[in-house]
Amino acid sequence: MAHQIVVLGGGTGGTLTANRLRRAYGQNEANIVVVDQNDRHIYQPGLLFVPFGLAHPEDIVRPRSRQLLPGIELHVSPVDKVDVVSDSVHLADGTVLAYDALVVATGAVLQPHETEGLTGEGWMERMFTFYTPEGSAALEGALAHFDRGHLVVNFIDLPIKCPVAPLEFCFLADWYFHERKIRDQVKISFVTPLDGAFTKPVSSRALASLLAEKDIELITEFNTGQVDGASGKLVSYDGREVPFDLGVIVPLHGGAPWVSNSPGLGDELGFVITDEHTLQSKASPNIFVIGDAAGVPTSKAGSVTHFEGEVVTENVQRFLAGEPIDGSFDGHSNCFIETGFSKALLIDFNYGTEPLEGHYPTDVGLPLLKESRLNHLGKLMFQWFYWHVLLPGREVPGIKSSMPTSGKKKPVAASSQPVP
């Protein structure tokens, strides 16, 4: 009998996994069904560029069905819940799908309602998010009419998708107002709940000095408890206030709602409890998790999803063949950080190694943690790469899923003693 493989979510992770599995199995060896709530696949990294007129919303959306290889069925309906006892998925349209192996790839959802005042007065008027197509398009209009005042960029709390995106927004805003020759009329502040510009020491220092160089104010350890759109201010839980004329806010994220509707599968925030090396759900051995839906300690990023694809595809096959599971995923992540003026930075890291200086993937590769034009080209190329290599699930020569170490500079530990 053919294996029944169900993939929940037809975004980055679901598409690339379904395509890789379709190649691995002949038509009569496996049935592969992808479930998604709609047929619009968004290239999410492009959302960052829309507010600055550098991309148009219609250019970053394609039909999901067209990204899937022939022989993969796309079923359009929201998922309602998964029953791990009977190995079946219940869809909102009433369909019940039984599976031998399930791949969860329903990503993360935005939860603006969890922050007091955020969706109240002023929402989509003086405060926006660029994390949705509607938000980023509306922000383009608001920025175009913004001639002077205080622009405040804030993310409420981690985890968020692509945690460097709010910083990139600041850098691009700096460039954008320079281009419009009104940079001196605009104050830009980056407000973060973290205790520095970023999470890990080496990259946090590098990014803080870049913010200072570009005259962007950095406000740290600010836990936004309330957004007051009527008077235009962020209020932290400990009573501090940051006034703004234009607020760009990344809401809290959680897992897709069906996860919390499926007992045993998710954590407090609705992310699926997952083994960080095998990417197998801890609730059941025939469930694998890829991308933002997974509760694993690395970035929620397309690059991570791409690197996870290899292990997930391999493990689905091993599981169905009754072979031992592969535990080799190392948390590998890399991100281009757009810094404006046609330059970008690149960071590369995994579970154990923080983003370091050096080059990627080897000594002669792209510079790490340093602004360069080459990295900016890399970021632009990523869109082509996304539709043509990453989603089809093709192998990339020279790029492995595990993190390369050869081009990296080891950090000098702050507490290390000089060798006598």
Binding site: D157, L158, P159, P163, F198, T199, K200, E221, N223, G225, Y237, D238, L252, E268, L269, P297, T298, S299, S333, F349
Partner: protein, 105 residues
Amino acid sequence: MPSKMIAGEDVELTDDGFFVHPEQWKEDMVPDLAKEEGIDTLTDQHWQVIHFMRKEYLEKGEGPTVRVLGKTSGVSVKELYQLFPKGPAKVAAKIAGIPKPIGCI
């Protein structure tokens, strides 16, 4: 690493004041640790949070973030800030003798 006498015992702390060895923590250290953080009177709610932090750490290997605390400890984020004005997750972690909670990248 600095070490410090707390409730009559020598405890090793990180530069920013977190326990290096969570197993060195004892419940009778709590009043002293709390005083260091400017908390003179410990209410039942303080204890509830401190015990919860400790339990989560022992079960999961890391302390919860403020947001998770607000969802799971039975004390809302607002109240958490009233109890630990300088930052609930960090301050409660210090008092509960567990490492600094780090959300991921």
